[in-house]
Amino acid sequence: MTLSHGGFELQNATVLYGAVAALQDVSLSVASGESVALVGPSGAGKTSLLRLLNGAVVPQLGTVEVAGASLAELSSGDLRRLRSRIGMVPQDLRLVPNLRVSQNVMSGRLGQLSLWQSARLFLKPAAAELEDVHQLLERVGIADQMYQRVDRLSGGQAQRVAIARALHQSPRMLLADEPVASVDPTRAAALLELLTSVCAEEGLTLVVSLHSPELARRHFSRLVGLRGGRIAFDSASRDVTDQQLTDLYELEADREL
């Protein structure tokens, strides 16, 4: 499936989990090739927003358009083809722990293969495929772990496998949920640098949720602040004031005082 562009368009989206609103009336537009960081305290709705963008969550109200197509109107086949071009790095990584790194990375391409092709990919991958995977792993810095089992890796290494798996999809868009949550600060900066530079080189749309506003400001030109399921601000990161960030992370209890 070739996508005409890699933009996202959310209109008045509301997501309810039971009686609790995870997102309320959120509208957001991300242009093709743009890099955006979602910031906000935990429970602000960052994960729900990311999950809206690849159709993992369906909004009760409002619409989601990806690459110009409304997700609600896609057939399941078209939705799968669209998803195969959206890379997702979930916060809990969701790798298969008892498979090797190479197999986990290759599984990113399943959406573009028939069942038969994918079986061959796992049992006897072509040399070119392996070289692709190795190159990708080199890029994320764990090429030597290519044949290691994922459950033998450190948290940071596993994080890179998840990123490599998403990139192996040759995506037009990349969604990453707290990709540096389990990584120490220096590695966090390096990982974000990696994500933004790869996406810039290849013109991918990148939406990342981050807990830390400092990191977000340093690596992204556009910040979207979320609080209580609503968008608090959406502006260029140089325009985001310290006061806005303080307000964003302020505890409910403090605000009432």
Binding site: N54, A56, R80, R81, L82, R83, S84, R85, I86, G87, M88, P90, D92, R94, L95, V96, P97, N98, L99, S107, G108, L110, G111, Q112, L113, L115, S118, A119, F122, R165, A166, Q169
Partner: protein, 293 residues
């Protein structure tokens, strides 16, 4: 850990008990134990159990002394003219019987594995997703349970009555209930395998079948492999016992020698059976350790 526990999937988490779990109050345990005690009293009353029946008669004592006395003196040569299937020596015959026991066990396990996998896939909610496919699960589980609920020896009686004494009858008699058991356990293992990776694959555009084959199956496979090896040990036992129905496995020779009062021979066959089962017990235990650690 080994598999006699009819494991739920996932080794330690098998039984689904939390590690430090206790009975919330001893009340539950009390109710269960009390009910068991009542059930036991009913059972003893119903069977008119008397401990006195436990004491062998005078003949029994003599027999027991003879029989257990032979435990340290297993025979190396035939004790009578009974030559079974015409082997030249007792050790050769015992080994041949052990070989037949293995042959019946391995062939029946291979059939059971094919049937168990197919039926297990059909009984697994993680593969049979979607409004219509889900409807397959209940009949598949029912079939697995029906196969399992008939003991292999009863299957043997039925099949012998229908087809007569052929070796394939023994193999199928073991394979049918084992296929049901494997299907049930495999389905549980696949359904209890964590599906987080599978969901990630789905979000990357994988089809439902790909999601299962590459996201769920690899996680259940170590447990499934270990369990299959445990069932091989069980199949050896079943295969040996089928000898009592006339098939030339170890059970046949144990029964024949015992009835001829050749206790030394009985012990020879028993020791060979023990060695066989202990070897496979060690093998499957070691494999399980490697797979699940």
């Amino acid at each position: 850990m080994s598999f006699e526990r009819r494991p739920g999937p996932g080794a330690g988490s098998a039984s689904g008990l939390k590690p430090g779990s206790r009975l919330g109050s001893l009340g539950t345990a009390g109710v269960v134990l009390g009910a068991l005690l009542l059930a036991g009293i009913w059972a003893a009353w119903h069977l008119r159990l008397e401990p006195g029946q436990l004491l062998p008669g005078r003949g029994g004592w003599q027999l027991a002394a003879d029989f257990f006395g032979s435990a340290l003196r297993p025979a190396w040569q035939f004790e009578g003219s009974f030559q079974g299937s015409g082997s030249s020596s007792l050790p050769a015959q015992a080994l041949r019987a052990a070989g037949t026991t293995v042959i019946f066990a391995a062939t029946s396990l291979s059939l059971a594995l094919i049937g168990g996998l197919l039926l297990g896939f059909l009984s697994s909610f993680s593969l049979m997703r979607g409004r219509f496919l889900r409807l397959v699960v209940a009949p598949a589980r029912l079939l697995a349970n029906l196969l399992r609920s008939v003991h292999e020896l009863i299957w043997a009686v039925l099949l012998l009555a229908a087809f007569g004494l052929g070796h394939l009858v023994a193999v199928i008699a073991i394979a049918l209930p084992y296929a049901g058991t494997l299907a049930k356990i495999f389905a549980d293992m696949m359904d209890e395998a964590p599906d987080d990776a599978a969901d990630a694959l789905e979000m990357a555009g994988a089809s439902p079948v790909q999601r299962f084959v590459f996201g769920i199956l690899p996680r259940a496979l170590p447990d499934m492999t270990a369990y299959t090896f445990y069932r091989f040990e069980c199949a050896l036992r079943s295969s040996a016992v089928l000898g009592f129905f006339g098939f030339p496995t170890l059970g046949y020779y144990i029964a024949a020698s015992f009835e001829n009062l050749y206790y030394g021979e009985v012990w020879t066959y028993l020791y060979v059976l023990l060695a066989l089962i202990l070897a496979v017990d060690w093998w499957s235990g070691r494999l399980r350790q490697e797979l699940v650690s």
